[in-house]
């Protein structure tokens, strides 16, 4: 198995539809207008020598190596910066060019160490390749004069020389190897959009500098890896490559972090992962990555991974390692006992949004066919279930309407309740790229997120609303659009139900929805809101991107409908550059929903009460299916506390840390008689588990993930599961122990079953995915190449439905006891409950959750930067350290929830979305006060966690 080949064309592709024909070295070639001569040559199979050019960034023309001669033109133009023209006759190799190139290379090498044999880039060095390509045989200049190579010249310190910067945990910067091609600087600007790097100095003094001559770690660098990828030498090198050496084969797979679903090449040496490199042909990420996907995979070999199944009678007992057979038999007999004692509906399960489609499908199949009930749910319950409901009502499908490429065609973007540069970083970079090219931005968020103002990015409007008032703000936007006559009437008449529109329009036009009226409780200045509404309605292609700041409210579903209304009213549905785009949280949260993880739906979003759908599965599975909806996660916990729900199988989900109102979750879990947790680590939920089944990582199994744009991407196994089995095998073995006759030998067979039963997946198979790379569902006879954009010829439900969206204030209100509003979110370097990222070097960026407080609120309470503060709500209290910042408005505090010691969810309440029970994470009334230590709950919980991680015969695991 070789390395996956990738051709570097030197400059980006041109989008022009006009074609130009020219002759290069006697070959006639036709390329789009605007293509560089360098790229055209490469397409003709001729590689012009180059150093500063690479197709991830625009041409720069600094290395003078890619010169060519053009008949009828003077001199030797750089092929990277010279566009093609009709009838040009180009020569890439002439005596004159050869001499120039050799001279240029000689100068480069005269200031470059010749330690090639021991250099980490040996085998992957473009400088070495070019020295070979131009036939460099001699370097006349030596190091005796000025150089950056040696620490000392003639026994004296060399001020030009700089030591390696090893501050970043994942890569090193060795200035002595830098050829100042500035590819890294341009990658940081053009691809990532952070502008952390620059070239400092002039002439021979110039060199790459993170920030103002800082170390990488202290600079603005976000460690996305684009610079490392762009570097042609060993100047920027992954530490893993330095340690291991060059990879010998690579496999294309899909990142297991956020919902962007980036494609990566897992570059391997045997079964050892050397590095993850974003794949240029990956259609979600187009060759870009973030610090998590690129570097934070170390958890897969972390010493705390549990590799053997374990059982205990009581959760106060230490764990006892057992064989897999014993574990399966124990779970099967316990679940059967519980059902005998408490009834068929007394058990259930939770599928994982981190596991593959195939694994998720099997869990819901086990529950429906094996347990005989529909008590299955997934973590989408606590993130995007309102999207499913809201978009389903408005458009007839829960699907996000666009692909990620669509952002390249947008003119005005609304980002509401999402922080993509932290939570969906690669999409964030793609959005910023478009914004730098002129698209306008409206940010609706209680916090001043990075998108509001950062280098070369400035939102036209930031509407800093009070948490919980989304519906009022979005309805007020609609008010302005309707009352100022900015609706796209032609679109509405053609695509939507006109009478429903009229009803809605008269509703939103009521004066009480005007921005002047809503300002009083939303905190959004009316003038800014009007400006934003006008911009969105009149600025060209308008797109809306949103995240959990929309859904995780008691009116989450209503806000989703309000967003759908806004898109329809302005005619922004059904073509590139527009649409309603939910940014999904976890890698496969879309897939887990598609696969029938919800208690009321079979795969493909078909209600369980639908006889025809049940019939398909009943025939295939040979069982009678229950036609009643099952319990959702919060309902399961309620039923557990009540005493009618006694056993649960949880795959790859840490509800104790991630779900709201921790005390309620722990009470529910504690009331159960058999809690089975399948995970990589003894997570927080496992503190309440009776059986632990070790899980496998995405590197250890085959399958598919479906990202936020509905793209079905292959996950490919690159190493043997450390625990012995892929997760789908564990579920299958458990099903067999419970008497089910399952005989899958490979996940592809599970996908075949999905395709056979689920119309939107009809044409999906591993063979097909291998052939086309990836597809976006629906992928069927009607859409054989998938569906990048939805609703192109009318809505899935027929006519788009406008729905009245009345603002209802949440019951979670501030008052004298709890005067502040807490809202929660993610940070770039960490991922959700942190089970993975906390077990990587990413902790260097974020080792604890901090509470962001406005200086005004902090001063009132005598809180200084870094002080311990007690954070209390009516649900509970915890302590964490303060971070004083005006990113949050006065009256609002913010924290992340990545660390179990913080237990941010002890604070959050059991309020939830009216339609889906999605918890209201984003609004909790709190009080803060100075503190001198952990809360009682934290002390007790620490002790419980420590005790519950004891394994018989093993030293206590340190967490």
């Amino acid at each position: 198995m070789p390395l996956v080949p990738e051709i570097d064309y030197g400059t980006p592709a041109s989008r022009s539809e006009k074609m130009v024909t020219l002759t290069i070295d006697g070959n006639e070639i036709t390329v789009p207008e605007g293509t560089s001569i360098m790229r055209a040559s490469m397409e003709a199979g001729i590689q012009v020598p180059k150093l500063c050019a690479t197709d991830m960034v625009d041409a720069f023309g600094s290395c003078r190596l890619c010169l060519v001669e053009i008949e009828g033109r003077n001199g030797t133009p750089a092929s990277c910066t010279t566009p093609v023209a009709p009838g040009l006759v180009v020569h890439t190799q002439t005596g004159r060019l050869k001499d120039i190139r050799k001279g240029v290379m000689e100068l480069y090498i005269s200031d470059h160490p010749l330690d090639c044999l021991t250099c980490a880039a040996n085998g992957d060095c473009e400088l070495q390749d070019m020295a070979g390509a131009v036939g460099l045989r001699d370097v006349r200049y030596g190091y005796e004069g000025d150089n950056h190579v040696k620490a000392r010249n003639n026994g004296e310190a060399n001020a030009r020389w700089m030591p390696k910067d090893e501050s970043n945990p994942y890569f090193t910067y060795d200035p002595s190897k830098c050829i100042v091609c500035s590819r890294c600087v341009r990658a940081c600007e053009e691809v990532q959009g952070t502008f952390a790097l620059t070239i400092e100095g002039r002439g021979f003094d110039s060199r790459v500098s993170p920030g103002m001559h800082e170390h990488f770690l202290e600079s603005e660098c976000v460690s996305c890896g684009a610079c490392v990828q762009a570097c042609p030498t060993a100047t920027l090198t992954e530490k893993s490559v330095i340690e291991i050496g060059q990879p010998e084969h690579s496999v294309v797979t899909t990142c297991a972090y956020c919902g962007v679903g980036c494609s990566f090449k897992a570059e391997m040496r045997g079964e050892e992962l050397v590095r993850m490199v974003p794949w240029k042909d990956g259609q979600a990420n187009r060759g870009h990555s973030c610090v998590k996907g690129r570097f934070a995979y170390g958890y897969s070999s972390h010493r705390e991974r549990i590799l053997n199944p374990m059982i205990r009678e009581k959760i106060s007992d230490p764990w006892r390692e057992v064989t897999w057979e014993e574990a399966y038999a124990h779970v099967a007999s316990e679940f059967r006992r519980i059902q005998y004692q408490y009834g068929r509906d007394s058990i259930g399960g939770i599928t994982s949004s981190r596991c593959t489609n195939e694994e998720t499908y099997l869990i819901q199949k086990l529950i429906r066919a094996g347990f005989g009930n529909n008590n299955v749910d997934t973590c989408a319950r606590v993130c995007h279930s309102p999207t499913g409901y809201g978009l389903g009502q408005a458009f007839g499908t829960s699907a996000g309407t666009q692909n990620f490429d669509s952002v390249e065609h947008t003119d005005v973007v609304i980002v509401i309740g999402a922080n993509p540069t932290d939570a969906h970083p690669v999409f964030g970079s793609r959005l910023k790229k478009r914004l730098r090219k002129g698209a306008k931005l409206i940010v609706i968020d209680p916090r001043r997120t990075e998108l509001v103002s950062s280098p070369h990015i400035k939102a036209s409007y930031h509407l800093p609303l009070k948490p919980g008032t989304n519906v009022a703000v979005v309805t007020a936007l609609a008010h302005v659009i309707v009352t100022e006559g900015l609706c796209d009437e032609a679109f509405i008449r053609e695509r939507c139900d006109w009478s429903e529109f009229e009803d809605w329009a008269s509703f939103v036009a009521e004066p009480r929805h005007s921005p002047e009226e809503t300002e009083a409780f939303t905190g959004v200045p009316a003038e800014a809101l009007r400006g934003a509404a006008r911009l969105f309605a009149t600025g060209g292609n308008g797109s809306i991107y949103y995240g959990l700041g929309v859904t995780e409210h008691s009116q989450g579903s209503t806000t989703v409908m309000a967003i759908a209304n806004l898109a329809m009213a302005t005619g922004n549905i059904g073509r590139p550059g527009v649409g309603v785009n939910p940014l999904r949280g976890q890698n496969n949260v879309q897939g887990s929903c598609d696969m029938g993880s919800f208690p009321h739906e079979l795969p493909g979003y078909r209600h369980i009460s639908d006889d025809a759908t049940r019939d398909i599965f009943e025939k295939l599975w040979g069982v009678k299916l229950n036609n009643e909806p099952g319990l959702r996660i919060p309902n399961m916990l309620d039923a557990a506390v009540e005493g009618t729900f006694k056993g649960i199988y949880i795959q790859g989900e840490d509800i104790l840390q991630s779900d709201p109102d921790t005390k309620h979750v722990s009470a529910g879990l504690a009331a159960m008689e058999c809690v089975v947790v399948q995970d990589l680590f003894l997570n927080e939920t496992a503190n309440y588990a009776h059986v632990f089944l070790p899980g496998s990582t995405f590197l250890e199994k085959d399958g598919t993930f479906t990202n936020a744009e509905r793209r079905i991407n292959r996950v490919r196994r690159v190493m043997t599961p450390k625990n012995g089995y892929a997760d789908w095998e564990v579920t299958q073995n458990l099903a067999k122990a419970m008497g089910l006759d399952w005989t899958y030998t490979h996940p592809s067979e599970i996908m075949d079953e999905i395709a056979a039963t689920t119309p939107s997946f009809a044409l999906v198979s591993y063979d097909y995915l291998d052939k086309v790379g990836s597809v976006q569902w629906p992928c069927n006879e009607k859409n054989p190449f998938g569906s990048p954009i939805m609703h192109t010829n009318g809505f899935v439900r027929g006519k788009g439905k406008f729905i009245r969206t009345e603002y209802v204030a949440t019951d979670e209100k501030t008052g004298p006891r709890f005067p502040l509003l807490l809202t929660t979110g993610r940070i770039l370097s960490q991922y959700n409950v942190g089970a993975q990222t906390r077990r990587t070097d990413n902790v260097i960026w974020h080792e604890e959750d901090r509470l962001e407080i406005h200086p005004h609120d902090a001063e009132n309470r005598g809180i200084r930067e870094g002080d311990w503060v007690r954070l209390s709500s009516r649900a509970g209290d915890t302590t964490l350290r303060a971070l004083i910042t005006d990113r949050v408005a006065p009256g609002v505090v913010y924290t992340t929830f990545h660390h179990p010691t913080t237990q941010a969810n002890v604070i959050t309440t059991d309020f939830s979305d009216w339609a889906t029970n999605c918890p209201e994470y984003k609004v909790t009334a709190v009080q803060i006060s100075p503190s001198n230590g952990p809360s009682d709950w934290q002390v007790e919980y620490d002790e419980l966690a420590r005790r519950s991680r004891r394994i018989k015969g093993k030293l206590e695991a340190a967490e």
Partner: protein, 88 residues
């Protein structure tokens, strides 16, 4: 908060949404929603509140919707309990 109160709160939240919708959709909307998403146990608790506790605390729209809400089958008697009662 007791589970009964939770059922009331959840039902009333749904009713609150449908109050804002065109009047013709009200009771039907509430009933359809509950039929689609509420597990029988939850509907049983709801009917218990309506039948045996005068619908205490429930929004009028929920009460109006009640006739349209599917009555769940009686709770399953667990096999163990059935066996115990069957034994003479």
């Amino acid at each position: 908060m007791s589970e009964g109160n939770k059922i009331v709160r959840m039902a009333n939240q749904i009713a609150t949404f449908f109050h804002s919708q065109p009047a013709s959709e009200g009771p039907n909307g509430v009933a359809t929603h509950i039929n689609k998403f509420w597990e029988p146990r939850m509907r049983r608790q709801l009917f218990d509140l309506i039948d045996n506790h005068g619908g205490g605390g429930l929004d009028s729209l929920v009460l109006e919707a009640a006739p349209l809400i599917r009555r769940p089958p009686p709770a399953e008697v667990p096999p163990a309990q059935a066996a115990a009662t069957a034994t003479p």
